[in-house]
């Protein structure tokens, strides 16, 4: 394990984190909340001290960086980022308990949006901004951001690929253009462009600028932290519609946007994952609208459609905003929403979940196995978008599915210690692990995670980070061989 190189990358990451804390600090200082501003200042000081110490310790980093180093590096980076990112909340006493603060910021970085706050509006504006900023940074990945900015080591090294693979979601991560730096710049360029568009549309709908910034960057990362206790419910129908559209947009694979920019519209239209994504969204909206209309939940059809579309967009893209308390909806609607939590967004998007691309592979493998039983001699390959998928990718997908189910089961068992209802516990785990935010019953859209004990919170923090990084970067940290020098 090349610990020195990892240390160097972590020291870079911490600086990036500190820089992204600055807007929050300025906002606090301008708003006269000196205690919060001071908390930010102290945190930034601590971060700089740690980062420079790490930098000095890891000056003589050797070359040579392999996929295991990449996994460990990404896992460590995200944990360390969460530990430092929680400091402003605790130092300013806005979230007095450190574990709660870590939960909040891990939920931010992993774009979950699960909160332990009973009263969101009580937080100072700077803290709210920092919470939402963490969504934005976590959505596309902070290491990808770093790759776009600095050459971590010489220009010929391919090791950055390991970092991209470990941090970006999807079964088969690749570059868009030959240079990693260019790839990262393109990804962040698209990300910033879409975020700004979202912001402009929100401001046109007369949303206050501060709210618009927080909601836009929260939507971009498919996070789900709002600035009001009612999430999005108290905004106008126009704003809710804008949010619906952008949540769905951020759940699309970003390489589709790149292809669009390159003028390869045909390739985008033929993308199987996109078909499934949109198909699932339309189907879910239709069924939920129907079930709500039958029970006459909302006065008009328009409102029914708006709420169901918003909730489907929110849960399919793993954002977790809410316009209404869907915990009160009929059972079939809730069941569909719960299933959407599992499926999650497309690979290569900012969303969480199992990913549609992976689900597609699992379904095709299932079909292949069924056919194999009926016709054993037949040689079959799995194709996506007409291309044969490598067996190694299929094997990894299978392994991922097993680990995914196991982690949900084990977390569910541990979280059940706290004595909430079974539905609450299972949805809490699924919601955190798939980076959603709200669940059902005890943690429904109008409630939060503050009731859980310390152990459960640690488990849920693990689930959130593991879910965002697709399990293995976090899981390898528990392997003894990850900590050996060789």
């Amino acid at each position: 394990m090349n610990f020195r190189m990892i240390g160097r990358i972590i020291s870079f990451i911490l600086i990036v984190e500190a820089i992204f804390m600055l807007p929050g600090m300025v906002l606090c200082a301008v708003g006269g909340q000196m205690q919060s501003a001071l908390a930010f200042l102290i945190t930034i000081g601590i971060i700089f001290a740690t980062s420079s110490a790490l930098w000095l310790l890891c000056r003589k980093a050797q070359k040579g960086f392999y996929s295991r180093d990449g996994l460990v590096c990404v896992g460590l980076c995200w944990i360390i980022m969460s530990l430092f990112g929680a400091l402003p909340f605790t130092i300013s006493h806005e979230i007095p308990r450190y574990i709660d603060a870590v939960f909040e910021i891990a939920s931010g970085f992993s774009t979950t949006g699960a909160s332990i706050l009973n009263d969101v509006e009580a937080l100072s504006k700077g803290m709210l901004l920092w919470r939402s900023t963490s969504h934005w940074l976590g959505g596309m990945g902070v290491l990808v951001f770093l790759l776009a900015l600095v050459p971590i080591s010489g220009r010929s090294d391919g090791f950055t690929m390991h970092l991209l693979r470990a941090e970006s979601p999807g079964p088969d991560v690749g570059k868009l253009v030959p240079r990693m730096k260019q790839t990262a710049i393109i990804l962040y360029g698209l990300y910033i462009l879409l975020t700004v568009l979202d912001f402009i549309f929100l401001v046109i709908g007369k949303m206050p600028v501060f709210d618009a910034v927080c909601i836009a960057i929260g939507t971009a990362g498919t996070g789900g932290f709002g600035v009001l206790n009612t999430s999005i419910a108290s905004y106008s129908p126009y704003i809710q519609t804008v949010c619906t559209v952008f949540m769905l947009l951020f759940g699309v694979n970003f390489s589709c946007y790149y292809l669009l920019l390159c003028g390869k519209i045909k390739n985008v239209l033929k993308d199987e994952e996109l078909h499934w994504y949109l198909g699932i969204a339309v189907f879910a909206i239709a069924v939920i609208t129907l079930s709500l209309s039958l029970k006459h939940f909302y006065p008009t059809f328009g409102e029914t459609l708006r709420h169901s579309a918003f909730q489907v967009g929110s849960l399919l893209s793993s954002t977790g905003f809410a316009t209404t308390d869907f915990d009160l909806w009929p059972a079939i609607a809730k069941a569909i929403l719960f299933s959407l939590m599992f499926i999650g967004a497309s690979a290569g998007s900012t969303g969480g979940g199992f990913k549609i691309g992976r689900m597609l592979l699992v379904l095709k493998m299932m079909r292949r196995n069924v056919r194999q039983v009926l016709y054993p001699q037949k040689i079959q390959v799995v194709r996506v978008n007409g291309r044969v998928v490598d067996e190694a990718v299929l094997r990894n997908t299978n392994a991922y599915l097993c680990t995914y189910v196991m982690i949900i089961l084990v977390s569910f068992l541990i979280v059940s210690i706290d004595g909430f209802s079974t539905t609450t516990n299972i949805t809490a785990v699924v919601s955190c692990f798939n980076n959603m935010g709200p669940g059902l019953e005890g943690i429904g859209p109008s409630l939060n995670y503050s009731g859980y004990g310390t152990i459960s919170k640690i488990v849920l923090i693990f689930d959130m980070l593991a879910g965002r990084l697709e399990i293995f970067p976090i899981l390898v940290l528990f392997s003894r061989s990850a900590w050996k020098r060789r």
């Binding site: 220009r155 391919g158 950055t160 030959p178 240079r179």
Partner: protein, 452 residues
């Protein structure tokens, strides 16, 4: 500049390493996923899986925006088809194909013009040319020509009985009585840029620049025996063998080819009426006894096995043969090879990739960009040829007043087509050509980059 490399084999990977370090945007195509995976993990490149001669794969690799396509797969026909298809998809692309089958060599010019190929490389033929040069002008382990042959960099080995052993470089001029400059010393596999106080030791390999005439003088004064080679025994009738045999025949040198495979022997006998084809196993040492080797002989070991080639060279050296050439397909373990007295070593893969890299750099040719690049000292150092232009810094300033970067050295200056081996008083002017020797880790692509 966007470059597509089709085929990630030996040449492909050597090219990738070199071109990626120089900052070009590379896309690699190969039909072997494992190879691609390893390439992607080592270098910052984009990989595309598939058959490089198909339109869809080439399009996926971005052929429409590419500037150069290098086809280096193992099959000539695929390389040609790949270049042809790429040319149809993008008229402005420069295509480089590796063609190694000697049977195609006569139609190469034809293919070049009608298929729109920019460059054809034949690693075996290049290797043969290099070997012929070494045999015809013996004494050196390797020679590289610069500036249309006016300057050469030659490799010398310091032996225990050499007059150069244990003297500082300052005194080299008085020992050799000619103008030459040591630009790199390879000791234990490390390239060192020496200064005047550097003391030469036994086993060092020196890379010396001088004009062609001075080099001959150098050899004479150093007392290196330069027997004229009368007979060359080639071990292994691979693809290079016919080329080499034909070239040597023109120089009136007797050629003998030892090949194990009888069918191949017959083919060779048909192709090369003047040469003696021996159907025997080169690893069989009794063969060498029956051949009665003498110092008039030269042995070229170029079978397909590196280990066997090394064995042959070491054995015949012990039989009193001075001039030996060993073909190796991998030179990565050069630190180890240094300990063995293998004589000249030739690596076709490196020769081939050097030619292509040279072409790519030539294409880039902005002001001050390099014209030609040669990798010396097993690829640890690079000798780069530059034109001095008006934009070059420090024109007319004596070299002793210049601060060059670490491990960078100006090996020679061509002023008014006169080669000058520089000392502290020399200076260069616009219109001159200079040859700069540097570490290959830090590629120098512009002349102004050499100054602090």
């Amino acid at each position: 500049m966007n470059i597509i490399i089709a085929g990630y084999g030996k040449v492909g990977s050597a090219l990738t390493r070199q071109l990626s370090a120089e900052g070009y945007d590379l896309t690699i195509i190969d039909s072997n996923r494992k190879k691609l995976e390893s390439g992607q993990e080592l270098y910052d490149v984009l990989v595309v899986h598939g058959n490089c001669a198909t339109m869809s794969v080439l399009e996926e690799a971005g052929v429409k925006n590419a500037d150069i396509l290098i086809a280096a797969t193992s099959a000539d026909e695929i390389n040609l088809l790949c270049c042809l298809t790429a040319h149809k998809l993008n008229k402005n692309i420069h295509t480089i194909a590796r063609i190694r089958n000697p049977e195609y060599s006569e139609q190469i010019v034809l293919m070049r013009d009608s298929l729109g190929l920019s460059l054809l490389v034949n690693p075996e033929k290049q290797a043969a040319q290099e070997m012929e040069r070494l045999i015809r002008y013996p004494g050196f382990m390797k020679r590289e020509k610069f500036a249309h042959g006016r300057v050469e960099i030659a490799e010398l080995r310091v032996t225990a009985d050499s007059p150069l052993c244990d003297i500082p470089l300052m005194q080299m001029g008085s020992v050799t009585k000619c103008h030459s400059l040591v630009c790199t010393v390879l000791r234990n596999g490390n390239a060192i840029a020496p200064n005047g106080h550097f003391i030469l030791k036994e086993g060092d390999r020196l890379f010396v620049t001088a004009t062609t005439n001075e080099l001959a003088l150098l050899l004479k004064n150093l007392g290196i025996v330069t027997h004229r080679v009368k007979r060359v025994i080639i071990c292994g009738g691979g693809k290079s063998a016919p080329y080499l045999a034909q070239m040597l025949e023109k120089g009136n040198i007797k050629v003998q080819i030892v090949e194990r495979d009888q069918k191949k022997c017959l083919e060779l006998a048909e192709l090369l009426p003047f040469a003696d084809i021996v159907n025997a196993d080169a690893s069989d040492l009794s063969l060498w006894e029956s051949e009665r080797l003498s110092s008039d002989d030269a042995i070229v070991a170029m079978t397909g096995l590196d280990e066997l080639n090394m064995m042959i060279t070491l054995y015949v050296k012990s039989c009193g043969v001075h001039q030996t050439i060993t073909k190796l397909s991998r030179t990565e373990s050069s630190a180890l090879l240094d300990k063995l007295d293998l004589g000249s070593v030739i690596c076709p893969k490196d020769l081939c990739s050097n030619t292509i890299v040279g072409y790519v750099r030539g294409m880039k040719n902005q002001t001050g960009a390099s014209i030609a690049v040669h990798r010396i000292a097993d690829g640890k150092s690079e000798a780069t040829e530059f034109h001095v232009t008006k934009d070059t810094l420090y024109c007319g300033v004596p070299l002793k007043d210049l601060k060059l970067k670490k491990n960078v050295l100006i090996a020679s200056i061509l002023h008014l087509s006169q080669c000058v081996i520089p000392n502290g008083e020399s200076c260069f002017y616009p219109g001159d050509t200079v040859i700069v020797v540097s570490d290959s880790d830090r590629a120098i692509s512009r002349l102004n980059d050499i100054f602090e």
